[in-house]
């Protein structure tokens, strides 16, 4: 029997329809989770950031979210909503939410106050300030948060296979039915998918970064570290906990920092 690592390619070809189906399921449930998280998290983050309130909450929700082990979440919701898609969707949404909320909040909150001030001084009303000034400047960081979320969800959705949610995990967890070559084949597909999603979002981030910002040195930080995966942690760091400024000039940053568009460290 040839090495399963080679045979895996054969599996992908032979069972293309199966692979495609599970791949689609995988993407769909990931997209749903991120989508819901976006619908709730984006407006909330923008709003809170704009009024500069509840920072402690907005930032620590991601501390919390990062600490939640995905498998545990899936397990907890199981008794409540039963096995299947709903369980997976809820758990994934819960996991997708924090990076989006926190990044959006910080992105809007930390637009340079002088810029906002100038905008108001010129005569823009609050809504215009938000739409024409704060949002464009905040976009890179917001998209960094979406990327973190998406990449993480795609990886975690693998666990859905155990909970009746379909997706590539279905194959990867089922060596009995699909044999080793199947497991490895689906693993290949998953790994490629993970990298693709990562690159896709990095590309999007580059696109939405206003040229002026791209030039300046952006502090490369991150809120990395997710349970099953977070490739967005690529070359970015997690900042230390609050009240750790080393000079009195640095304002105390609450919680940890987020990603920006630059990952070419």
């Amino acid at each position: 029997m040839s090495s399963p690592f080679i045979g895996a390619f054969g599996f992908i070809v032979d069972r293309a329809d199966l692979v495609l189906r599970t791949l689609t399921e995988h993407l769909v449930i990931s997209a749903e989770a991120v989508g819901i998280a976006l619908v709730i998290g984006l407006p909330l983050g923008v709003f809170l950031g704009h009024i500069h309130r509840f920072s402690f909450l907005a930032i620590n929700v991601s501390n919390l979210g990062r600490a939640l082990p995905s498998l545990a979440l899936l397990a907890i919701f199981l008794p409540i909503v039963g096995i299947g898609n709903t369980d997976v969707l809820i758990a994934l949404t819960v996991l997708a939410f924090p990076p989006i909320l926190t990044n959006t909040y910080v992105a809007i909150d930390q637009v340079e106050p002088e810029v906002v001030d100038a905008a108001k001084g010129i005569g823009l009303n609050p809504m215009q300030v938000l739409l024409k000034v704060e949002l464009p400047l905040a976009l890179p960081l917001i998209f960094a948060g979406i990327r973190t979320s998406a990449v993480f969800v795609v990886a975690t959705a693998t666990l859905a296979g155990f909970f009746g949610g379909g997706g590539l995990g279905d194959i990867i967890s089922n060596q009995e039915s699909y044999r080793l070559r199947g497991v490895i084949g689906a693993s290949y597909v998953l790994i490629v998918l993970a990298f693709l999603v990562q690159f896709l979002f990095v590309g999007i981030e580059r696109l939405v970064t206003p040229a002026g910002l791209r030039m300046s040195r952006s502090p490369v930080r991150n809120r990395a570290g997710r349970p099953t995966i977070d490739p967005s942690a690529m070359s970015e760091t997690v900042e230390a906990e609050e009240d750790a400024p080393t000079t009195e000039d640095e304002p105390a940053r609450v919680g940890h920092k987020l990603q920006t568009g630059r990952d070419t460290r």
Partner: protein, 339 residues
């Protein structure tokens, strides 16, 4: 341990010092030579890019010489390991660079600790220095982040002095401080220097600071060229060339006046200031410039000079000021300048 086992100041000599960076067209420092007598403050001043900071950093080998030599107390700096050398030189930089994770006391004690002093001695010395720099003892257990800019700078000076080095290097130490506190710190440092008399190399881009702080001023231009090296008074009286004249400013006449006090010059007769009333007296501690300023508000009539008790001791008019300036010029030592 201190050079030559003594803790007194050591003379510093630049001997044909050249620094050439590998890919640069011109030398950063080209054949620079001058001597700083022991216990004097030599200010290196010049426009940006003239090499003054580079020259200073050559002394403690933060940058290495390309050719020439630097001698501290007649001993070449190349003769010792860099860390040994640096522990024997006080180093104060613009942003201080206090160690944020150490208390003020520990910051001050860094070099003594490196030199292996025992705990008691370090402690005593640190407390002594706190007094010297004018900070209350309880500041000792604070962290740099809890101090103001001016306080930090003082701690920086204390840290540099801790092991009683014979030589101090100061790179725009008061540059990052606001003008009011800068003035205060400069005065503090001058007071300190009068007490401890270290050899100091002081770098600044501010000619007024140079005039105020320096016993000798070395005016540099691009390439580390020494344009004039002399006392502030002589430089103001006789700038070596146009560059210096422009650099010291068109008001150098007035600046000169600020350097001399009334009790240092020959005063005129008390009777010359016959028309005395309160407003026309001036203290003998006042500078010639202050006197001139006072005269200008009274149609240039002579002023009555009084001592600390208020007793008239003489008068001052334009004539006395003029004579004093002229005397100052002929008394001047030959200026050591290269153009």
């Amino acid at each position: 341990m201190a050079l030559n086992g003594s803790s007194t100041a050591a003379p510093l000599e630049f001997a044909n010092v050249t620094k050439q960076y590998p890919n640069a067209e011109t030398a950063a420092i080209d054949n620079l030579s001058f001597t700083v007598p022991a216990g004097e403050v030599c200010v290196l001043v010049g426009p940006s890019g003239c090499g003054k900071t580079t020259a200073m950093r050559l002394v403690n080998r933060m940058i290495d010489l390309t050719s020439g030599d630097i001698l501290i107390d007649d001993a070449t700096i190349k003769g010792r390991s860099t860390t040994d050398l640096r522990r024997d030189i006080g180093y104060v930089i613009q942003h201080v660079g206090l160690f944020p994770h150490l208390t003020v006391l520990k910051n001050i004690s860094v070099v003594p600790k490196l030199l292996g002093w025992d705990r008691q001695r370090m402690n005593d010395r640190a407390h002594e220095l706190l007094d010297l720099i004018g900070l209350p003892q309880e500041m000792g257990s604070r962290y740099p982040s809890q101090l103001s800019g001016g306080q930090r700078q003082r701690v920086g000076v204390a840290r540099a002095l801790a092991a009683d080095p014979p030589l101090m290097l100061m790179d725009e130490p008061f540059g990052a401080i606001d003008p009011i506190n800068r003035d205060r710190l400069q005065n503090e440092f001058l007071r300190l220097q009068r007490e401890i008399r270290k050899t100091v190399v002081f770098v600044t881009h501010d000619i007024d600071e140079a005039i105020k702080m320096g016993d000798k001023i070395a005016i540099l231009r691009e390439g580390g060229q020494l344009v004039q090296y002399d006392t502030p008074a002589n430089i103001l009286a006789d700038p070596a060339n146009d560059f210096v004249a422009q650099f010291v400013g068109a008001d150098r006449g007035l600046k000169r006046l600020a350097l001399t006090r009334l009790d240092e010059i020959e005063l005129g007769d008390v009777s010359a200031a016959r028309h005395v009333n309160q407003a026309d007296t001036v203290s003998d501690r006042a500078t010639l410039r202050d006197a001139l300023s006072a005269m200008m508000s009274d149609s240039m009539r002579p002023l009555l000079v009084v001592d600390a008790e208020g007793t008239p001791i003489g008068s001052v008019s334009i004539e006395q000021i003029n004579n004093a300036l002229r005397r100052g010029r002929t008394d001047a030592e030959p200026t050591a300048s290269t153009t």
